[in-house]
């Protein structure tokens, strides 16, 4: 029997597979397909203080091996989440991680503070990297200074462990990772989507209502992997890798590059039971390779 568990220091996961924020709804959407307790955990969709309308449709366009979305963090807000959804999640024996958003630094801290008054949340993921909510796809994770300030502010407001989610839309991701680490984040998740667009040549119009969006799916996996590799060499905090993971082999690549755990995103849309299939694939791989602890794979890349 292989031990798939992963210890992030601040949080022990029964396996390294988490459902990724923005692709996993509020978790309950996946209940019809499998027992959510089989997951390492999941990250619920980003929450602001207030409900949010989201961006004008069309919000999705497929590109080669990828998907560009411009949802714009439509959602019910932190109050409705804690009242209507969290009670249904908090009894689950799996890590419930909540993705925290903010229009400005103060809102991140207020959302985190609101969440910290409720039971059943294992950690917060700071979404400082969504490309769909500010003009031109800008986000705090594009600046080490803004990253430091936001993480620090939330850190001072709550004692819950923080996972800071980084953007690939930067020149040097290690500088941002270091700033997050210095501000006290317990872990780093990377990468969020790549700022992208698609055009309909017949109409000469962008295919997305919001003009630009975030690219996800297998198309971005090589970039995500490279960034996990770079950041793993720069920081000491554990990394959660994501970006186009569709199979157990993809997970292993991210772990070898330095990730302790992973998130599965776009694959959930194609196969609602994708996370479960990936966990089973990891178990088989570890058995076939005579591994006792899957966590041994982390950072095992031979360069």
């Amino acid at each position: 029997m292989v031990d798939l568990s992963v210890d992030l220091g601040f949080l022990k996961l029964k396996n390294p597979v988490l459902g990724a924020s923005g692709t996993f709804g509020y978790g309950l959407e996946f209940k019809p397909f499998y027992d959510l307790e089989l997951l390492g955990g999941f990250v619920v969709k980003g929450l602001y203080l207030k409900p949010r309308e989201g961006n004008r449709p069309p919000r999705l366009v497929e590109t080669p091996a990828g998907l560009i979305n411009s949802i714009g963090l439509q959602g019910i807000g932190v109050e409705a989440f804690c009242r209507d959804i969290l009670p249904e999640l908090s009894g689950l024996k799996t890590a419930i991680i909540v993705n925290v958003c903010g229009e400005e630094e103060d809102e991140y801290a207020r959302v985190a503070e609101y969440l910290s008054r409720h039971q059943g949340i294992a950690a917060l993921e700071l979404n400082i990297s969504c490309p769909n909510v500010r003009e031109g796809g800008r986000c705090p994770a594009q600046s080490p200074e803004a990253t430091y300030r936001t993480v620090k502010k939330v850190k001072q407001a709550v004692s819950l462990p923080l996972i800071t989610k980084l953007s690939p839309n930067v020149t040097d991701i290690t500088a941002v990772a270091l700033a997050a680490e210095e501000a006290g984040t317990e872990a780093i998740s990377l990468i969020n989507t790549l700022l992208a667009m698609a055009i309909d040549p017949e109409t000469r119009q962008p295919k997305l209502g919001n003009v630009m969006g975030g690219l996800s799916g297998p198309a971005i996996k090589p970039i995500a992997l490279r960034m996990v590799f770079q950041v793993a060499r720069a920081v000491k905090v554990p990394l959660i890798g994501l970006g186009g993971i569709f199979s157990a082999e993809d997970v292993l690549e991210f772990m070898m590059a330095g990730a302790s755990a992973v998130q599965v995103g776009t694959a959930n849309f194609v196969d609602p039971d994708a996370c479960l299939n990936i966990i089973r694939g990891l178990e088989t791989w570890a058995e076939n390779h005579g591994l006792q602890n899957l966590s041994q794979v982390t950072g095992s890349l031979k360069v």
């Binding site: 923005g22 692709t23 996993f24 709804g25 959407e29 996946f30 019809p32 397909f33 969709k45 309308e53 989201g54 004008r56 449709p57 069309p58 919000r59 999705l60 366009v61 497929e62 080669p64 091996a65 990828g66 998907l67 979305n69 949802i71 439509q74 959602g75 799916g217 297998p218 198309a219 569709f246 776009t266 959930n268 849309f269 194609v270 196969d271 609602p272 039971d273």
Partner: protein, 266 residues
């Protein structure tokens, strides 16, 4: 709602770009309601990445039928499947048409434009079984866009046909045919599925005639089960306009709730 990765494709019929598949999937067939849809995997590779949402055309015993038109890479791949192959299908999904008992003994219009006919066969069959009198309006550009007209009539349904070029039935838009018929008949309800301009025109007609009804909307979908919030349309509900998910809150919406793009506020 379940994933059937071994749904056997029993029969493929085709007319130009239009395809009618008969698929054996007992559990999905047992759960299915008119107006619901399936998410179908069209490729084993990442090209295209996503499943395709396809309406349920009809359900009989353990078998489902889907009727679709090749419109892009996904539906082209789907159309290349052959009888005997397995399909990876997921459903039934969404909130289908409401079937009110008040429609008993009443006339009901079911209006389909081109491939928009897809969900109406199952609906009309259920309406008939419930004692209503459905009339299918089936419109297209030309006779070649109406491949199922004979089969609908053969199954005992009343069908009125229109073509833009006059090659079959009424010459003109299906919405004009509906207007013509409304001069003589007063249906209790109107259901429709088709391109947005057709639906928008029908919404005007229904408002004018004070005729209640429901439309089945199309949208590009990511997941089909409410996880991605990618397929939303603006809906006016409880005094508010908001983006609701076509896959979960729809695809069927009451006509008066649908906000057409140029009327959107903000």
């Amino acid at each position: 709602m379940l994933i059937d990765r071994k749904a056997r494709l029993v029969e493929v019929e085709s007319w130009g770009d239009y395809f009618l598949f008969t698929i054996d999937s007992p559990e999905i067939a047992r759960q299915a309601q008119p107006g619901q849809f399936l998410m179908i995997k069209v490729s084993e590779t990442t090209q295209p990445l996503l499943r395709r949402p396809i309406s349920l055309h009809n359900v009989e015993h353990t078998r489902l039928q889907i009727f679709f038109q090749v419109a892009g890479q996904g539906t082209r791949l789907l159309s290349s499947k052959r009888p005997g192959q397995s399909l990876d299908i997921f459903g039934p999904l969404g909130r289908g048409f409401s079937l009110s008992s008040e429609l008993r003994n009443r006339e009901v219009f079911c209006v389909g434009g081109g491939r928009g006919l897809a969900p109406l066969h199952y609906l009309a069959g259920k309406l008939k079984a419930a004692g209503a009198r459905p009339i299918i309006f089936y419109g297209g550009r030309s006779e070649t866009d109406l491949p199922l007209k004979g089969r609908l009539k053969a199954s005992g349904l009343e069908v009125l046909v229109s073509t833009d070029d006059g090659s079959c039935g009424f010459r003109g838009l299906v919405t004009s045919l509906v207007e013509e018929k409304l001069k003589q008949r007063k249906p209790a309800f109107l259901y429709a599925c088709g391109p947005d301009p057709m639906l928008e025109k029908l919404a005007d007609i229904c408002r004018r005639e004070k005729l209640a009804g429901e439309f089945s909307l199309e949208s590009i979908m990511g997941c089909g089960f409410g996880a991605c919030w990618g397929c939303v349309k603006k809906i006016r509900r409880d005094g508010q306009e908001k983006y609701l998910k076509v896959c979960q809150d729809g695809p069927v919406f009451p006509i008066e709730e649908i906000v057409w793009p140029e009327n959107e506020h903000g």
